[in-house]
Symmetry: C2
C-alpha cells in the first residue's frame, strides 16, 4: 500500500500542551514516510477541512515542530464548530470526503475534548456510511479533565499545577496582609460543568493554608459557606476561596449570573469571583481581593506539569501508532498503574464509549461539607502536577514558536461554513 | 561600641521578592555580630514595633533565612499603617522609642514603598527630635515602580515579567481561537497611579502580537480606543488589551467605577477589565475574554525575574552596609550604568528626597497615540525582566518557607494601635 496523507486538527479551547500532542503526531508521522506521506493540518480546526484550508506541515523544520512541545495555544488555530449528524447535515460530510479524496487523506487525527470526540466518531463512520476509507483517531485534550475512560486528560495537569501554585502564592500574600488589610482572597477558575480544576486548589491545604472550594457539582449553600469562611478566619485570620466558574445556586443559576445592570441598563457580565467576594464582604465586613485567571490558566506553558507534557506528547504519538496498526474510531488514553510512585501507560478506548460522556468529580473526592477535597482526590491529583518543564527564555520572555503555516494549494471550489 | 540590635519590618503590599531583601538584611547582619547583635522583625510591619510584637530572627536557621530569597509574600507579616507627623501623633513616636530602648535597637530597616519611605524618614529624625540615637534606612520595595531617584524598584521586574509572559501566552491562545470565537482578550493589571506594570504588556509587541494599553497617565478616550481596537482586529483578527486598574475617564472617574448595582441595589465592585471588555463588545460585537491577575501578579515568585531577585537582595544587604558605615535617613538605590548589556550598581539616596515623591511614566515612554510603549520604554524595561530564578519544587508545588516567627519576650505594657 502506498503512503497516504494524514489530516490533523485542533478543536475547542486550546491548552498549554495541545501543541505537544501535535508535536507527537507530526514527529511520529515523520518517522514513517512509507506510510504517511505528509501531515496536513486544518487551519482553525475542522473548518480548515471543510474549506480546504490545509496547512502543509512539511514546510516546517524539525526544530520548529520540536518547539511545539513547549509552545502553548493551538499552533494551527482551533475552532468551536461541531458537526451535526449525518442525517442533519449530509452536505458537510460529503464535503469532507471530497477534500479527503482531493488530498489523498487516509488518516484523520482530531485533537480535542468531548465534542470533538463526537465529531471524530462521526468521521470514523464515513468509510461505512459513505464508502470512503479513512481511519479516525481522537487525540484527547481538555483542561476540564472530563473525558471518560482515560485516567486524566492532557491539558488538565498543567492547569492544575498553575492553579495550585497561584493559589499558594496568593495565599502567602494574603497571610502577610491579613492583620490590617485583606483577609479573603477569591480565585475564580475554569470548569463550567466539572470541578476538577477547582479541586486542584485544595492541594495547598497540606501547606497549612485555609482553603474553601465552590464546586459546580455541589449546590451553593450561602449560609453554610459564610459560616465556613468565618470559621477559617477565626482560626487563621485569612482564607482563600477557589470558585469554579460553574458554581451554581440550588435553582441552577450560575453564581456569576447576578442580573446586574450598568448605568445604561446593559446586562453586566461579571465573574463568579467578585460575586463571592461581595457576598463575604456583606456578611462579615472582611476586606477582600479577587482574581479571575481565565485564559492565563490554560495558556500558562511557563508552569506546565512535566507529567502533563509527556502525556500530551505520548497521546499524539500513540494516535499515529494506532492508525498505523489499522485502528479506527479509537482514542489513546492514560492508564494509571500506580499512585505513588506514579506509573502509567498508554491505553485505548473505543470512541463509541467516549463521545458525549462527561466525567464529573466523584462525590468521594469532595469532603463531606462540600468545600474541600478528600485524601482520595489528593492521591489522584498529586502525580498529575509533578515535574517542571520550562520553555526556553530569550530577553526575559518565553521563546515560543510561531509556525509558517503555509497553505496547501486548493483543488476544489469554495465551500461556505 | 558594643553591638546593638536591628529592627526590620515589611510595609505595604508585599511582592514576590520583598523576602529576598529581608534575606539580604539578615544575612548581612549575621556576618557582623560584633556590630549587630540580633535582627528583630516587626510582626505585621511597624505595628509590631508599636505593640512590642517582635520576632526573634535568631531562632531561624541559616537555611530558613536563605529560603526567604525564593519565597514570595512578607514572611513577618506586613501592614498598611502610616505614622502621622510627630506633631499629630507624638504618642506613637514616644512609644517607638520606648520599644527601641527596651530592646536596645540602634538600627531601623524599613522595607517598603513611598508611604514607608516617609515613615522611615520620620523615624530617622528621632535622634534629633526626641534624643534617641537610631539609624533609619529605607529598603526600597514596590511593584508600582514609582519611587524616585532609584532607576527601578525591587518587586517591579518580577511583576513585569509575569505580566508580559502571561499576556504573551494568553495572546497565543486568543490567536488560536479568533476564527470562530474570542477575538479580544483584556488583562487588568495593578498600578493605581503609575502605568509601569501596564507598560510591561507592551513588551510582547515585538513578537507580532497586537497590544493596546490603557495607562493611568493617559485620559481614556473611548472613541479613539474603539477605533484602535477595530484597526488591530482588521489586521490581526484579534487584539490583546492591557488595562491598568488606575485607568480613568477624563472626568477622573476610574473605569472600574461604573456605579453598577446588583439585584438588591448593592454597589457592585467590578474590575476595569470587564468594563473594557463590555465596551468593546457593545461597540463591535467581538467575542471577548478577560482576566484580573490581582495578587497572582505580585506573588508569582515561580516566574520571578533573576535581575529583580538579585537587586532585591542587594538592596537589603546595602541597607545594612550603609547603616554600619554610619548613615542615617538614606535608601539604597539601583543605579543603571548601561542598557545593553545591562549594568547597574548600588547607589544611595537621601530619604528627604524620596519621601512623598511619585515617579510616573514619562510621556516619551508612551507612544504618540497613548496606547503603546516607545522604544525608549522598551530599552528601559527589557533588562528588568531578564533571567529566571525558579524556586525549588516538591510534590509539584513550589517549596516556600514559612518561618517559626518566635516572639521576643515583651518588657513593656500593652499599647493600642
Amino acid at each position: 500500500m502506498s503512503a497516504r496523507n494524514a489530516f490533523y486538527a485542533q478543536s475547542g479551547g486550546v491548552t498549554a500542551v495541545i501543541n505537544a500532542s501535535a508535536c507527537g503526531v507530526i514527529e511520529a508521522a515523520r518517522r514513517c514516510p512509507e506510510k504517511i506521506a505528509n501531515v496536513y493540518a486544518g487551519r482553525n480546526g475542522i473548518i480548515g477541512a471543510l474549506t480546504e484550508d490545509l496547512i502543509d506541515t512539511s514546510q516546517e523544520s524539525d526544530a520548529a515542530i520540536a518547539a511545539l512541545r513547549f509552545t502553548p495555544s493551538g499552533a494551527f488555530g482551533s475552532c468551536r464548530y461541531k458537526l451535526k449528524s449525518l442525517d442533519a447535515n449530509r452536505r458537510e460530510y460529503e464535503r469532507l470526503i471530497e477534500v479527503f479524496k482531493a488530498h489523498d487523506i487516509g488518516y484523520f487525527f482530531y485533537n480535542g475534548g468531548g465534542d470533538s470526540a463526537d465529531t471524530c466518531y462521526k468521521v470514523s463512520q464515513l468509510s461505512e456510511s459513505l464508502g470512503y476509507p479513512v481511519q479516525a483517531i481522537h487525540v484527547p485534550k481538555t483542561v476540564d479533565n472530563d473525558l471518560p475512560i482515560t485516567d486524566n486528560c492532557p491539558g488538565f495537569g498543567s492547569v492544575a499545577k498553575y492553579i495550585a501554585t497561584s493559589a499558594l502564592e496568593a495565599s502567602f500574600d494574603v497571610r502577610s496582609m491579613s492583620r490590617t488589610s485583606t483577609k479573603i482572597f477569591v480565585l475564580e477558575v475554569m470548569g463550567r460543568h466539572a470541578g476538577w480544576i477547582a479541586a486542584a486548589g485544595g492541594l495547598i491545604e497540606t501547606q497549612n493554608i485555609p482553603v474553601l472550594i465552590l464546586f459546580p457539582e455541589i449546590e451553593f449553600n450561602q449560609e453554610q459557606f459564610i459560616a465556613a469562611v468565618k470559621e477559617k478566619v477565626a482560626q487563621f485570620d485569612f482564607c482563600t476561596i477557589i470558585v469554579s466558574e460553574g458554581a451554581k445556586y440550588p435553582d441552577g443559576r450560575f453564581l456569576a449570573e447576578q442580573g446586574t445592570r450598568d448605568a445604561f441598563g446593559h446586562a453586566q457580565l461579571g465573574g463568579a469571583a467578585p460575586v463571592v467576594a461581595n457576598l463575604i464582604k456583606d456578611a462579615t465586613g472582611y476586606k477582600f481581593h479577587w482574581a479571575v485567571a481565565d485564559y492565563l490558566q490554560r495558556a500558562a506553558r511557563h508552569l506546565a506539569s512535566k507529567t502533563d507534557v509527556e502525556q500530551a506528547y505520548a497521546m499524539g504519538r500513540a494516535g499515529v501508532e494506532f492508525a498505523l496498526a489499522g485502528h479506527n474510531a479509537v482514542m489513546p488514553t492514560v492508564k494509571r498503574l500506580n499512585h505513588a510512585p506514579y506509573a502509567w501507560e498508554v491505553g485505548m478506548a473505543a470512541l463509541a464509549d467516549v463521545a458525549n460522556v462527561e466525567k464529573f468529580m466523584p462525590r468521594d473526592f469532595i469532603s463531606a461539607d462540600g468545600f474541600g477535597i478528600t485524601e482520595l482526590c489528593r492521591q489522584y491529583l498529586t502525580p498529575l502536577i509533578q515535574g517542571e518543564d520550562y520553555p526556553p527564555f530569550e530577553y526575559g520572555l518565553p521563546k515560543y514558536v510561531t509556525l509558517k503555516n503555509a497553505a496547501v494549494a486548493k483543488k476544489l471550489t469554495a465551500f461556505e461554513v
